[in-house]
């Protein structure tokens, strides 16, 4: 087990390193560099900046060195000092801009995962043991709709109906009185009260997918001979179901947690933008539109790190559940 975890951990670190290079490329892609932008900013403020000044600034910041030196500077600043660089648009260190927004994004992702599996597993079991029942059909129809609708459109539709029917918007993460308030128990409860809307929106596609997987595997498993044997032994139906076929059917579901998390993180910025959540999503979009590259790069790196960490955790979880994987066999 320890060997497996260490092996996976090394792979995770390598992937993170590779990803950081890709993120760095997206930072460097737009024409012009920090020195140009700084000069532009100073000029717009009325300061006289000559082209020699720009060159010397560039040299001072080390921007005239080859890309791998710059990459190394950037990444070592992040790893050693937690310094993600400067936001051009807001003239603040990136870490300060991000602040507690990162925590909210992580909470949103975790809430969505819990929501997805908390809903998918029971509904999947129900759909399988009551195949072709009304509930099974309902789950299938909702599933088709959920998988066909991208989460940001779902958010739009939900907003539309909340405004038209209830008369208030379901956007945001806090009630107005908690918006600027410091963290307290009341604020946390308020957050949970708002969090289910984005979690539902982000999780619906994944939930639909996992319901189908759970249903299909369980349908395969429940007619196998070991189930019949257990039933012949006289095990009560409920205990029998939970003890054997459901445990087997959980495997493919757990193994996709990593993908699920990737999909959630991928959809999150747009949903946050539509629902006006105070997390990293809207910040990411404005940073991209303003070509505020260090800020957008830091957020992109955070998203990637989250998904890779999630994949690592789901691998470990799967190994705990399934000894075949632990001992390096292919399933």
């Amino acid at each position: 087990m320890a060997k497996f975890v260490i092996q996976r951990f090394i792979i995770m670190t390598l992937m993170l390193a590779a990803l950081s290079i890709i993120v760095f490329i997206t930072i460097e892609l737009p024409p012009g560099d920090y020195a140009d932008r700084r000069a532009l900013h100073l000029r717009s403020a009325g300061v006289l900046v000559t082209s020699e000044d720009v060159v010397s600034l560039r040299h001072q910041l080390g921007l005239d060195r080859p890309w791998y030196v710059r990459y190394f500077n950037w990444i070592s600043n992040i790893v050693l000092h937690g310094n993600f660089g400067q936001s051009f648009g807001l003239h603040l260190p990136v870490t300060q801009v991000l602040g507690e927004r990162v925590g909210l994004t992580v909470m949103l992702a975790v809430a969505t995962i819990i929501f997805t599996y908390g809903l998918a597993i029971p509904i999947g079991i129900y759909s399988a043991i009551r195949q072709y029942s009304l509930g099974d059909y309902a789950a299938t129809v909702v599933g088709y709709f959920g998988m066909a609708t991208p989460s940001f459109m779902l958010a739009l539709i939900l907003l539309y109906f909340s405004v038209m029917v209830i008369g208030t918007s379901v956007g945001g993460l806090f009630s107005p009185e908690y918006n600027e308030a410091p963290w307290s128990w009341g604020k946390f409860v308020d957050l949970l009260r708002h969090l289910w809307v984005p979690a539902l929106v982000l999780g619906l596609a994944g939930t639909a997918f996992e319901i189908r997987t759970m249903r299909a595997t369980l349908l395969d498993e429940k007619n196998k001979l070991y189930v019949t044997a257990a039933r012949a032994k006289g095990l009560p139906e409920w205990k029998l179901l939970m003890k054997y076929p459901v445990r087997v059917a959980l495997n493919p579901i757990v193994s996709t947690i990593g993908w699920e998390l990737t999909a959630i993180i991928a959809g999150a910025p747009l949903v946050s933008f539509v629902l006006a959540l105070p997390d990293t999503g809207p910040l990411f979009l404005t940073a991209l539109l303003d070509q505020d590259t260090y800020l957008s790069g830091a957020i992109l790196l955070m998203y990637a790190a989250l998904t890779i960490l999630g994949t690592f955790l789901s691998d470990v979880l799967l190994a705990v559940l399934d000894p075949r994987i632990r001992y390096g066999e292919r399933v």
């Binding site: 992937m15 590779a18 990803l19 890709i22 993120v23 997206t26 892609l29 737009p30 024409p31 088709y144 709709f145 998988m147 066909a148 609708t149 991208p150 940001f152 459109m153 739009l156 539709i157 907003l159 539309y160 405004v163 038209m164 918007s169 956007g171 990593g258 993908w259 990737t262 999909a263 993180i265 991928a266 959809g267 910025p269 747009l270 933008f273 539509v274 990411f284 979009l285 991209l288 539109l289 070509q291 590259t293 957008s296 790069g297 957020i299 992109l300 998203y303 990637a304 998904t307 890779i308 994949t311």
Partner: protein, 386 residues
């Protein structure tokens, strides 16, 4: 009959469905070509057929967008900004039935209390709707000049899905957007198909360490949250690029997005097929690698590839829609579903002018139609399975 029994003995096929008892039907089943078997199987999937019809309609709209839409996408009705959908009537105010549908002239007035524009139908002045009316001139596919539109009015205006903030007809814009969005999907898919086939082919055919490297690479790509990365890449396109150039680049970007899935499928199929007897036989007979791939391997898993393509098409459309929606993808004057949806970003706008929301319906319907067709094709791809 003996021949047929022999055939059954040689290749163990499942017995035909119990409904097929008549001899003729049985013979038909065994002598049918692969394609026929697939079609029969596909036909049984009711939803897939419906999806096929919907997709056919969309393709038709995309092909003849200029002719089908009553206005050109840029044409404005200046006195009907944010105008609601006009209703087609068959019965006039006196209760008389007309075979030719008409709509009423509209008068807009500011509501003194809410400051909203109130639109009232003026039942004294009907605007009859004609087929093949002369309207704005256009160039069909940029080649054929014409000014005949399928339907329209000669006096007044006709906006069946309302107008946007500049008074442009939403239905016409939707038709043109359908063309852009579908083209992007098809071209992007073609690029993915090409990449997936080549990379997956190399990985599966040669195996060994090449395969190992390619597989790790694919795993790596799949662990990246693609949409944010593509957003970042799209954002770094220079602002001064022309919309056409952006359109072209975005299409290529989307094509680079979807190949991993296909490459895996191709590899998996190749790995299982290359040890099959018919491949070994071909190799012993002296066929070259290229010939084995093209003549023996490709045909045996082509149907699976087509299925995967139909399944990944929606992802292309959704990626384009998402990118354009937030303003990082296509931009005016190019019109796509995502560009149209930009108008629906603002919740206040949607609440006041819900017809701005119609592109959402188009996207959802097309994606659902594609997943139905994909499901049907998945069942049909292996016509011998039950």
């Amino acid at each position: 009959m003996t021949q047929i029994t022999e055939a059954v003995d040689v290749t163990p096929r499942p017995t035909p469905p119990p409904s097929v008892i008549a001899k003729d039907a049985e013979i038909k089943y065994y002598t049918a070509s692969q394609f026929q078997l697939m079609w029969w199987k596909f036909r049984k999937h009711r939803l897939a057929l419906i999806g096929m019809v919907i997709l056919g309609t969309f393709v038709f709209i995309a092909l003849f967008a200029e002719f089908l839409s009553p206005y050109t996408p840029g044409a404005r009705t200046p006195n009907y900004l944010f105008g609601g959908p006009q209703v087609l009537h068959f019965v006039d105010a006196e209760g008389n039935f007309h075979l030719r549908p008409f709509t009423y002239a509209l008068s807009a007035a500011m509501d003194p209390e809410t400051f909203l524009l109130e639109v009232k139908e003026d039942t004294s002045e009907p605007w009859p709707v004609y087929f093949f009316v002369k309207g704005d001139p256009y160039k069909m596919w940029g080649l054929i000049e014409s000014d005949i539109h399928l339907f329209g009015v000669q006096e007044g205006h006709l906006h069946l899905l309302g107008t946007d903030q500049l008074g442009r007809d939403i239905l016409s814009r939707l038709f043109h957007a359908t063309r852009t969005s579908l083209t992007i999907g098809v071209v992007g898919l073609f690029i993915s198909f090409f990449l997936g086939l080549i990379i997956g082919g190399i990985s599966g055919f040669f195996g060994g360490s090449i395969d190992e490297v390619i597989q790790r690479f694919i795993e790596f790509i799949r662990s990246i949250p693609t949409l944010p990365l593509w957003m970042a890449l799209a954002a770094s396109l220079p602002r001064e690029w022309s919309p056409q150039r952006v359109y072209f680049t975005i299409t290529i970007l989307l094509g680079l997005l979807g190949w991993t899935h296909l490459a895996r499928r191709v590899r998996g199929k190749l790995l299982s097929l290359r040890e099959e007897d018919f491949v070994v036989a071909a190799r012993i007979a002296g066929s070259s690698d290229a010939r084995i791939i093209a003549r023996h391997l490709l045909p045996s898993f082509l149907s699976y590839i087509i299925v995967d393509l139909s399944i990944s098409f929606p992802y292309m459309i959704l990626a384009e829609t998402s990118l354009s929606f937030i303003g990082l993808g296509l931009r005016a004057p190019v019109i796509s579903w995502g560009v149209l949806l930009q108008d629906a970003q603002n919740i206040q706008a949607i609440a006041l002018y819900p017809w701005l929301f119609t592109p959402v319906a188009f996207v959802i319907i097309s994606v659902m139609a594609f997943s139905f067709v994909g499901d049907g094709m998945r069942d049909a791809a292996d016509p011998y399975s039950r």
